[in-house]
Amino acid sequence: MQNKVGLINIRSFFKSMRFGLILLGVLGFLSVVGSFIPQGRDIAFYQNNYTSIVAKTILVLRFNDLYHSLYFSILFGTLCLNLLLCSITRFNKTFNKIFEVPDVKKMRNISAQKVEEDKKTAVIGEIYRKYGFESLNKMEKVNNRTVYYGKKNQMGYLGSWFIHVGVLLVIVFYGYGQYTFFSTHVYGVPGEAKEVLGTNYSLEINDFNIQYREDGSIEQYLSHVNLKNNGGDILKAEDIFVNNPMRHDGYAIYQTATGWAADIKIYANDQLLKEDIFYEATTISDERGPVAIQFTKFYPDFISTENGIYSSSNHSNNPKVLYTIFFMGQRVAMNIASIDENIHWYDYTFVFENPQMYTYFQVNKMKGKIGAIIGAVLILLGLILCFYIKPKEIIITEAGKHIEVFGNNINHLLNT
């Protein structure tokens, strides 16, 4: 018996508003903590930047990746359960309220007056119009009194219910989206076609442009690409730019970055060994031998001063490359070279040609977006119903010459 009562108490606590608010409070508090600790860095980062005790605490409590930690998800899961149970329990009550005859006992007595028999109907009509009701829908005899009642804005009762279901949907669909999230990237220069790893698609890059304003600032990065399937059919041909991803079958392809690339030719004893597109900050090795070259940095508008070397603009006015040559993993040479210059190292010759900007796309597949949007719309709709569609009820009772008016939310404190 004791146990059963305990269980019922736990169950009702579990679906209570108080428990929901405690959960929200804890989630809010943890979010504050997480916002002050840089997220998702290497372990070494925390060990170097905090005292050892703090670093340990951060790592043990997973504050280094708080928002993806198991217990953060469990807290959100519990909030969902709480919202679900509470919404199920409140469903009947909420909907009944809409259709219920208002209960005079729960209403405020607004006025009472005596009226002559022949004016009664007119007075009653005047009263309910005064309070903004269009029609009094029903008459009943209760304890020898005739009861008229009117209702307005009943949808307002649904407000908080919609909000809670909306929040539930957003969390559930966001969680689902995170859980099934797929992401990869593709980059290349115009003319290249690249497979999108992990999908059945490839991207053909037709063109890539950076649009500048008159003051030299960047207005837009624009790529024109074809999306192809395995069979080589073009599924979509579109411009992709920032804020305008290409979408296909749940995938979205974003213009996210850009950088420099050049063609490279590698010769050994004047014989062409290799020809490739060489991206800044990558390394190419001669597969047969121990030699590798790194495209360390690109200077589109090279300037050398006492303070060092840099690029004075992003336009290809005086292009130079900084390269590094490795032999058996050891750095053996590093220097600046011009485009089309022959870089000699023992029997090897390297030539950088045709520098151009490459385009970099992120490819994401996030499921559950529609569900989350529906949730968000429900929240908004619920808020508006809850705050701005106040349900109003009126009851007018008539017994002989006595007319009494009762109401909910009518003649409100500040209804001016």
């Binding site: 508003m17 929200l24 920032v242 804020n243 991803p245 908004l380």
Partner: protein, 270 residues
Amino acid sequence: MFDERYSFIITLILYSLSMVCYFTFFMFRKEKFSNYGSLLVKVGIVFHTIALTTRAAEASRLPLANQYEFATSFAWGIAVSFVGFEWKYRFKALGTFVTPLLLLVAFYAALQSREIRPLMPALQSNWITIHVSTAIFSYGAFAIACGVSIMYLIRDRFKQDAFLANYMPSFEKLDLISYRAIALGFVMLTVVIISGAIWAEKAWGRYWQWDPKETWSFITWVIYSIYLHVRLTKGWKDKKAAWFAVLGFLAILFTYIGVNTLLVGYHSYA
């Protein structure tokens, strides 16, 4: 007059004088000063609007793109919401509690760089226009709620003071105004978060990734939803709800100022 800088400086002076008037009214209990205060804010808004439109014309876009522009628009939102609420609920002491918040934000704006820079590509979206313009009114409404709640707490502290009882509305009315302001702010804040998420999805590929600005808007949203529930629960109404309204506005200020200056994230460039 049609130079942005001058009209902004005039605005600051007018708002400051208005605060002085509201304080004179409150401290020395001289009623006519509240009328001067109210008038000064309204004239201030005129100059503020001139400053904002001039800037918008110069930049050929809405002035909603960097720390300065948002701060000055935010201050404008507070001033406009203040005039609206003062007009609707007609009580004089409101200005004493809202003008300091208004000045706080306006002077913060004055400290920011005023350079006009074109929009970087990620910021070129209609969603960001909805996002930032609703943020301005949301924050404005929350500022009102904060001011009204501070009044509530002060009135509660000095229950015996006849002047306060005369010039401050009843507890019930203060609570109701604060609730109305928070309801409005909360609806707007929800639009801010949703439009921000849609924009982030289009620009970065993730609609929510817990970057500090997103996290703090979530925290703010949580604080105000706790306020809304707490108010429904009888035992907690009144004072505790008022504290949550103040706390919520501190979270707003932190979301806006603290996150940009203290924390690192995607939003920080703005």
